[in-house]
Point group: C2
Chain length 215, copies 2
């Protein structure tokens, strides 16, 4: 590789992720991590290079085990963005029988959102509720999706295998996450303003990849 | 909205982005921003809730104007992830004639990567170079894509309208961005470890949305 003045570490493509996780582990130093939560925390840091995720992630009791049981039973994941859908490893999830669904671009969702003067994210959650299936929700963008999930569950119109709540933003984001944390279902929440479709996808992948480690 | 104990601000969906940018502007306080760069810096913060992007973003001389000229001429954007492709506003870009291309899932790219023992990101950049069109590159994941772009340009095998360099990560990411900053073409670089497909897409959208403001 000629002409290159900066030092490029000689790491094979397949080893880059492994080496990245080693660096993250080194830099976390003496931070004591729950071994079930650690792969998810590290994957959120891996996806953002933001060590705030060491403190940002809230897990409800036995959340990791419960999500992984659901995944192993073939539970599908509903996202609120095509970006989150793109980022989740659909092949690995598919090995357990689940798929990743995003209704945001569906025509009926756009129509219902317009009709009800709400967001497409809200209409997407309502569409999911009407399917009467037990989904995992991975929300990386819309606080309105979280608020609607809360209402649907409280009204007894939705049963869920768990919610990954990771919208990013400045308006109603922290509040919507605080609301979701009142629910009695498996939860992984990126508390505060930070999160994103990439973080929601990373949390899903962290759960999927470790399904066979945690029995 | 009954049963809700947390305070949700009453902001209409369409106003949430506007309100978010107001909050970001407030919190940036006295930071003096170049008016051309400001919408891009704020959009990167909006996408991550991470104010580090105030200091992280490098712009080559007149980068914003040059990227926007290219967009207005109908230049297409090549990404290194489907996530970045998902996040770019293809409708707004399409109004100028451009489209968003991602070759990562193409069969010939997978074959060439295997054949040449390299990454699909490298094979994607090589595919783009062979098309002999002047693209904008928006790289949100693979440092190997940046390194290959650098080589292709130095070898005279690729001409580009500009590179948005925003991979995230721990191995060769900072180094690959430092390498790209040696190039003499329009550049917007998320320096250091941080970035991601969401950040690459946000930078593209920041450019696209302001195309008509900057003449």
């Amino acid at each position: 590789m000629k002409d290159i003045k900066v030092k490029i570490e000689n790491v094979l493509p397949n080893d880059i992720e492994k080496r990245s996780f080693e660096i993250i582990t080194e830099e976390l130093g003496n931070a004591e991590l729950d071994p079930l939560k650690a792969p998810i925390i590290k994957r959120a840091i891996h996806t953002t290079a933001d060590f705030d995720y060491l403190r940002n992630l809230y897990f409800s009791e036995n959340a990791v085990i419960k999500f992984q049981e659901a995944i192993k039973e073939g539970t599908s994941i509903v996202t609120d963005t095509q970006m989150a859908r793109s980022g989740i490893n659909k092949k690995r999830l598919g090995e357990y029988g689940g798929e990743v669904l995003c209704f945001m671009s569906d025509e009926d969702v756009a129509e219902n959102a317009k009709l009800n003067k709400t967001t497409r994210a809200v209409a997407s959650m309502e569409k999911a509720a009407k399917l009467n299936k037990k989904f995992i929700f991975a929300i990386g963008n819309a606080p309105t999706a979280l608020i609607r999930l809360y209402e649907l569950i409280k009204e007894g119109r939705l049963d869920t295998a768990g919610i990954i709540a990771a919208p990013v933003g400045f308006v109603n984001v922290t509040e919507a996450k605080n609301l979701i944390m009142e629910l009695d279902c498996p939860l992984i929440v990126a508390k505060g303003r930070k999160g994103g479709s990439n973080v929601a996808a990373a949390i899903c992948n962290g759960l999927i990849y470790e399904c066979n480690s945690n029995k």
